[in-house]
Symmetry: C2
Amino acid sequence: MIPGPGRFELPEGLVYLDGNSLGALPTGVADRLSQVVREEWGRGLIRSWNDAGWMQLVGRVAARLAPLVGVDPADLHLGDSTTVSLFKTTVAAARLRPGRRVLVLEPTTFPTDGYVTAAVAELLGLELRWCDPADPLASVDEDTALLSLTHVDFRTGALFDLPGITARAQERGALVLWDLCHSAGAVPVDLTAAGADLAVGCTYKYLNGGPGSPAWLWVAPRHQAAARQPISGWMGHATPFAMARDFEPREGVGSFASGTPPVLALSALEASLEAFDGVTVTELRERSLALTERFIELVDEHVGDAVEVVTPREQGRRGSQVSLRHPAAYGVVQALVARDVIGDFRDPDIARFGFAPLYNTLADVETAVERLVLVLEHEEHLDPAYAARNAVT
Amino acid sequence: MIPGPGRFELPEGLVYLDGNSLGALPTGVADRLSQVVREEWGRGLIRSWNDAGWMQLVGRVAARLAPLVGVDPADLHLGDSTTVSLFKTTVAAARLRPGRRVLVLEPTTFPTDGYVTAAVAELLGLELRWCDPADPLASVDEDTALLSLTHVDFRTGALFDLPGITARAQERGALVLWDLCHSAGAVPVDLTAAGADLAVGCTYKYLNGGPGSPAWLWVAPRHQAAARQPISGWMGHATPFAMARDFEPREGVGSFASGTPPVLALSALEASLEAFDGVTVTELRERSLALTERFIELVDEHVGDAVEVVTPREQGRRGSQVSLRHPAAYGVVQALVARDVIGDFRDPDIARFGFAPLYNTLADVETAVERLVLVLEHEEHLDPAYAARNAVT
């Protein structure tokens, strides 16, 4: 059962609809981190690698994350940024299909995914091919090593058919790398049931790991023996403490490790994931859809002539956010922030509202639309104090 | 002036000589991190990227670090693991010398440095050449793109002549990448004065950033326009919030950024570096040499026939640790830990003692040697409880 916002330290009176950018602070994280710093680091010092189980931290976090994406914890690795994780998995995927020379990419993906794929194509002498977002599979052929897709579009909230696309790309001999940054923790994903190949995700959105928390990556067990990522470090060595001159990879996904794990950040993440205790992915999806559905209904009813809902109305094609198009979207978002409703802006004309099923409520939805109505009625979005565009995350 | 151990939360009665593996906890870090979690993340939420200055965090940490390695903060980047930082700088260096096909590497370097260099050589189709540790320059010729060296040997504590080797390798047209993991914060380094090319270092040893804290990298200003690292992410883009499809690097070392900065870890590091306030690198070096010199003297005097000092006795060739060779070094280290003197073991027969000039004292040195004498006299190192070897960091 969804326990409600009591598991989070949300400021009173704030309607926070930006958990798709930075998740809220779960209760218990601050105390846990304080204990790690004061006791484990401060008093345990170097002994804590063994005594406080820092060497097992990646595995403990993986065990909490695994059910949310339908995998075995043993096949997950955590510790780098999303970008670095994408780089490692993209190189590994290309190497798993050495006879194929094309990496297929979708132009509405998050920019980093494109930059990384282009960088890997250059590094390995491969070809980059942009596909049609409406039909990515049309670009996948016998030359394709990898199709790299983001499951939920960060601008529109549209959802790709992960199992269907995976199966059809695999029929053509390609691998598929899924970016699950906007899925894990809000949209059900069963990578094992889908027979997926590789996946990557951040942990600071719906997983609430904190700003810049470490990303995760997953490699299907059947690929692990042959998969080789290029950033070999001592923590990916079969016997790190032998300090051997030549590299010999650990078995399994452990070979995707590079350096010393980020203990403070992983400890915060471990505590954060306790907010999912006793909650099933089915319950998360039900709550998420109830929230987005109600938001769309109320928007249609009250401001339907002023904004365009760009997120798919079909539930099966929707992630956990709703995006509204408005020519002064930046001003709309800023005026709402001034009224304690936090969403965010995406260039050029999108106001995004993320619905975190663990802590957002139907009351949040209603308050947000009420205040959106007021903003538009009073033309607060045209107020120069809100309408000037600048860099926000 | 060195303010002494009062700037650190050291457990009473413990002699901690492992700051070359994990630095002690500076006072103020726990409170600062608690404030970042509770206030900046918990209450500020997404607004803290601007309001709490998270976007400027890398620059603020760089400003504190820069004087310790003799560089301009604008030329430093922080955020990845040491391994990833080595990978980025090694690829960039090789690309800066496109006509040259050899990466030269020193066999006693930290294993990760070797693994990364070998991985980059494979990726770029280059040749790996192992040099003689006694004369690395003998392997540097007109085919050499890069000489990759660790400034202070992690096993022996021996120090390379950074300015001299840099100058002579550059005369042959090669670049030099320095790994300063065991230098920064204890051994003076002036990268600018040395005319160095590239450098990398961790922050969790003498810089006391906490377990697995983010690494730094430095690229000489003269190389920045042409230097290209391969892990392109949105934070390295000239205009990240334009969310452009194609990558256009930021000017300067900012192009070495990849993903979202690790805010919690960088905040801890920022607070940690306050322990260096008002301390010069010259004072750090004087204190460090006073500690290692006295340790060597006392070891020679009291247990000189039982152990071999493998660290250079010449001060100019010594880092900030002293390593002792003993056939039962593992048992020696474990028996000392049981007597509250913490050093560490390196395969196969090295007991390492790191001297952190910010918090170790001459009293620590004396106590450590007194207890080493007792351990050896009572043959505690042969006690089966201490003598069994297992994985320790």
